[in-house]
């Protein structure tokens, strides 16, 4: 017993304390509680991992039975294996850093305590997700982080766009969760349990040819879930809008941790996925398509956070690509490195935005290199990492992915390489537009306080050296044996070159000859508009799903179905009864003679009837 439960418990306690009493606390106290709880959680996680050290097999702790109904038993059970350990470290580590950063960033906001309460709650759910030992508990964390995401996106609830974005995030995630829960039901039906160990054990024992259909169904449904959470086609639409939330939220939830939950989940379910080759192929293609599409959109956006948001979508696509080709550990490696540099990018962007008093449009920036040098320096680290400059963290994971992809399908590989170039291009574009050239804005930029830049510095170091320091595939060797041996130097050179080409191209377009982008975009015309408007996906969803649903419900179901038809029938029955009543009533004409006629008629009819009904004594006798 290592009391794993304490890891998520600390943030939960922080949430409760801040949530209930935070309003009466000073900001300092709130920060202390919030940061302290996450830091404690980090420390406890570290302690547990050290104690459990080699972790060749999962360490499971059961606390109580949560739900039991017939053969379905869902215990509250936490477990740690190597995969979990990595995720734990990422979540608590980066979480701590971002909490610290946020105390500075959010200092002047109303509802300071509310923010940190939500953030702590997020940590709780995220840790539950990571530590869960069965699908349902994972799902708890899964939905919980979605909730926190919703709450934090809608943090500025006075803004209509913020609350709308929150709703969108929640509902799109719900669609994904719908797939996830169906997958769970099928898992239970197929394997008789939701417990990871039992399910995977059973899954491994199933021969492929017996189970292909069911396994594919389960995996595709899991993919739907993962696509919702990890913003894959077709459910990625919520993530760019999620940038309505405060920047630390974007960094923590919508870049580093929550959105990678899908990747984690697929990797976790690797035992099932490997039995479903069709599903694997689908995962790969979905990932690749997402990577390409989001990257192209990223090239055209001007809102700095939007650029990074699409970048995140694209990078997540990369991770899915990795999962799809079976390179689970490479995918997780990219999760880790991406967490470093993307959190850094967002936080850095936050720092810029903070410096510019909430200016987010890059067209109003420029030349900030000198005005906020520390921010520039740390952002530069992230920049080269994501661009895949050799030996930065991003390079390691990206090369690992591309290597595996090449092994799987050269076509995918080349698309991946092109995407890598595009990625390097748009990140460089954002850097050049922000930090180079002349300042085009009106605000008075100022450097952020140490409480903000110190965490940035830590992340910068990790972005540069993270890939080297944490060799994830090696750590995960017991879980995901590396199938293809050795590095292919040629591939690595091509990959690295792609990144450098992207940077170079951006330099040409945005520093060397600044008029070029406009002329290119105008010469591309329709294609550019299509990409700039994000392929009109939101509009298409709106026109094909949202509007028909709302207006169909209003006129078709409610006004026609309920009010007119069903209630019409009900009231019609009432009216019918009254109508009969009216008819019956006219029998009562008040005339003595008509009543007498009825008597005679009744007598005649009844005499005939009594005579005609053949009794036991015989008929008409």
């Amino acid at each position: 017993m290592h009391h794993l439960w304490l890891i998520p418990f600390f943030p939960l306690a922080g949430f409760l304390v801040n949530g209930i009493f935070g309003r009466r606390f000073s900001k300092g106290l709130v920060s202390m509680v919030a940061v302290g709880s996450v830091a404690l959680s980090f420390a406890w996680a570290l302690k547990c991992l050290l104690a459990l050290a080699p972790l060749e097999t999962p360490h499971v702790e059961r606390y109580f039975m949560w739900i039991q109904s017939g053969s379905l038993a869902i215990p509250y059970e936490l477990s740690v294996d190597r995969l979990t350990a990595i995720m734990l470290m990422v979540v608590t580590g980066i979480g701590s850093l971002i909490h610290i950063y946020a105390t500075g960033y959010m200092h002047d906001e109303d509802g300071f305590y509310r923010f940190f309460a939500y953030l702590n709650l997020f940590m709780f759910f995220m840790l539950t997700l990571v530590l869960a030992n069965n699908y349902l508990l994972l799902f708890v964390g899964w939905e919980g982080v979605g909730l926190c995401s919703y709450l934090l996106i809608g943090y500025y609830f006075l803004k209509h766009s913020a609350s709308t974005a929150g709703n969108k995030a929640f509902i799109v995630n719900r669609i994904g969760d719908f797939g996830f829960s169906l997958a769970m039901f099928l898992i239970f039906i197929t394997f008789g349990s939701l417990d990871f160990q039992k399910v995977f054990e059973a899954a491994k024992a199933v021969p492929v040819e017996v189970s292909a259909g069911m396994m594919t169904a389960i995996c595709l449904l899991l993919l739907v879930g993962a696509a919702g959470k990890s913003a894959q086609i077709p459910l990625y639409v919520w993530l760019p809008d999620a940038m309505e939330g405060p920047t630390p939220v974007s960094a923590l939830i919508h870049a580093a941790t929550m959105v990678t939950a899908g990747v984690y989940m697929v990797a976790r379910s690797a035992a099932i996925f490997t039995k479903a080759p069709i599903a694997m192929e689908t995962v790969a293609w979905v990932g690749l398509a997402t990577a390409v599409m989001a990257a192209t959109i990223g090239m055209t956006q001007f809102d700095i956070k939007k650029v990074y948001a699409y970048s995140t979508v694209s990078q997540l696509g990369y991770m899915f690509l990795a999962l799809g080709v079976g390179a689970f550990s490479a995918g997780i490696w990219h999760v880790v490195t991406h967490a470093f540099f993307k959190a850094l990018l967002f936080l850095g962007a936050g720092s810029v935005i903070h410096a510019l008093h909430h200016e987010q449009d890059m067209r109003n920036m420029g030349g900030l290199r000198t005005k906020i040098p520390i921010t520039f320096a740390v952002l530069a680290c992230a920049w080269i990492a994501i661009s895949g400059v050799p030996f930065t963290s991003g390079w390691y994971s990206k090369e690992a992915i591309l290597g595996a992809v090449h092994h799987h399908s050269p076509l995918m590989y080349w698309i991946g390489v092109a995407t890598a170039a595009v990625t390097a291009f748009y990140v460089s574009r954002s850097m050049f537009m922000t930090f180079f050239g002349e300042y085009r804005g009106h605000a008075h930029p100022h450097e952020s306080p140490p409480v903000m830049w110190v965490p940035l510095a830590v992340l910068a170091v990790l972005s540069l050296a993270g890939g080297f320091l944490f060799n994830v595939p090696h750590i995960l060797e017991p879980l995901f044996p590396v199938e293809h041996g050795g590095h292919d130097i040629m591939l690595e050179i091509i990959g690295s070159a792609a990144g450098l080409v992207g940077i170079g191209l951006a330099y040409v377009m945005y520093v060397a000859s600044p008029g070029l982008p406009d002329s290119i975009s105008s010469s591309l015309g329709g294609v550019y508009r299509l990409v700039y408007n994000k392929y009109y996906v939101d509009e298409a969803y709106d026109a094909t799903v949202v509007r028909p649903l709302v207006s169909g419900s209003r006129t078709g179901l409610w006004q026609f179905g309920d009010v007119w038809l069903i209630d019409g029938v009900v009231n019609g029955m009432g009216g019918f009864a009254r109508w009969i009543g009216g008819g019956v009533r006219t029998l009562q004409s008040g005339s003595i003679r008509s009543y007498a006629a009825w008597v005679v008629a009744g007598a005649v009819i009844f005499i005939i009837a009594a005579g005609a009904i053949a009794g036991s004594n015989g008929g008409l006798r």
């Binding site: 039991q68 379905l72 349902l136 939905e143 609830f157 719908f178 009900v570």
Partner: protein
Amino acid sequence: MTLLDIVLFLPLVAFIVILALPKTLSRTLALATSMGIFIVSLGLLAPFLGKPTSAVSFETNLIWIQSPAIRYHISLDGLGLWLLLLSTMLTPLCVLISWNYITDRVKEYYAFLLLLEFGVIGVFVSMDLFLFYVFWEVTLVPMYFLIGIWGHDRRIYATVKFFLYTMAGSVLMLAAILYLYSRAGTFDYPMILQLLSSGRLQLTAAEQLPLFLAFFIAFAIKVPLFPLHTWLPDAHVEAPTAGSVMLASVMLKMGTYGIVRFCLPMFGNAAHQCAPVIIALAIIGIIYGALVALVQPNMKKLVAYSSVSHLGFVVLGIFTFTQQGMDGAVYQMLNHGISTGALFMLVGFLYERNHSLEIKSYGGVANVAPVLSVIFMVTTLASIGLPVLNNFVGEFLVLQGAAIVSWKYAALAGLGVIFSACYMLWLYQRAFFGEAGEGVRHHITDINKRELLAIAPLVILMVWMGTGTSLFLKPITAVNAQILEQSKINVEYQVKAPPAPSAEPAPATTAAVVEVARAR
């Protein structure tokens, strides 16, 4: 004389006392007595805390009328227990929320509330079909007056519709009860079950189906199952807050309770036979209710339609004939009672302040009433089935049960979960987020202590029932297992095997799969 008798009759005593004493005391008396009843009723928990068992407790079996033998036969099992406690708990809360809201004919109001409590407790403990019917009908009267006297503008239409709808259903049930008596020679429910299981009483298929339908329609109207639901939005919108709460939380449950208690064990064959149709209706109700809720401009109507959707889950769960589905269904009854009850309370609080139920008269409430908003948010989340809150557990079990029968059921019903998020969050956004308008800023104040006292137990329960389910679920599971067993008498129809993982004959469980694998 057991504790259950006391709990059953205390509300009636309270009813008489309130009527007898002067008006000025009514409010206090109602609160005191209903609180007292609740505390006493907690004593009923005692036998259920230990090992799970399907045995009944607190049985009283006396002769009420000699011939035809009508018995005062009441007892409590895991199925009735929680619904009973829910009723006794909600009554004091309803008194609390009516505290300032009701100014006219105060005495009668609280008296009716207590009478209603008497009726619903009776429904949940009756073990004699006749007695059950009596209580079933008795609940109609106080609710009729609660809506009719203290309701809003279109209250008369709503209350008459409510009464007639339910009446129309229940007379069919009465016919069925009478028929059963003529076949079984008794109204005593356990006796009938015994006769059925021992084969001494055999209902032919031609008998079972009409009997089942007669019972089922009466219950389905109460539930309400699509398309018998249109009384519900009207009744809810026009009812005073406490009326809505009792209606949603307790009275709708009488329908689903009845289905589980009576329809399944007695008419297993017919129930299985009708299951596909009923499941279809339940699923239509789930989706239909949610979609119609989506476009409601009136908060109460929205919540009312959401009830249609939620109750669809309950019915779906019941007719899966799986342990999970039924457990989930019963659990969902309680959950719906708590979260929808809370929603109605909260809407009532808003109405008391701003005198409007239209969503568009609100907006930005979160600015002026933070605590209220938080509670509303928690309730919303509970209602849409967020994990760690109560509804999640129920919905999960129901859908799992449905999936065992057919994944299509689960998939279709699962859409309801998505839509529930749509309509509730959209409601929340429109009512609570954004800038506060003139009216909201002037009228809306944050929740006061009395209101907090009324709503807090529900919020606590939402969390408790979402996390510590075993306390609640154990007695339910035990009873459901027994009911499932009973419903299998003479059933040729079997629950369909889980969908095949492959084209080959499908081994249902892992063990079997492995077995097959090894065999090769």
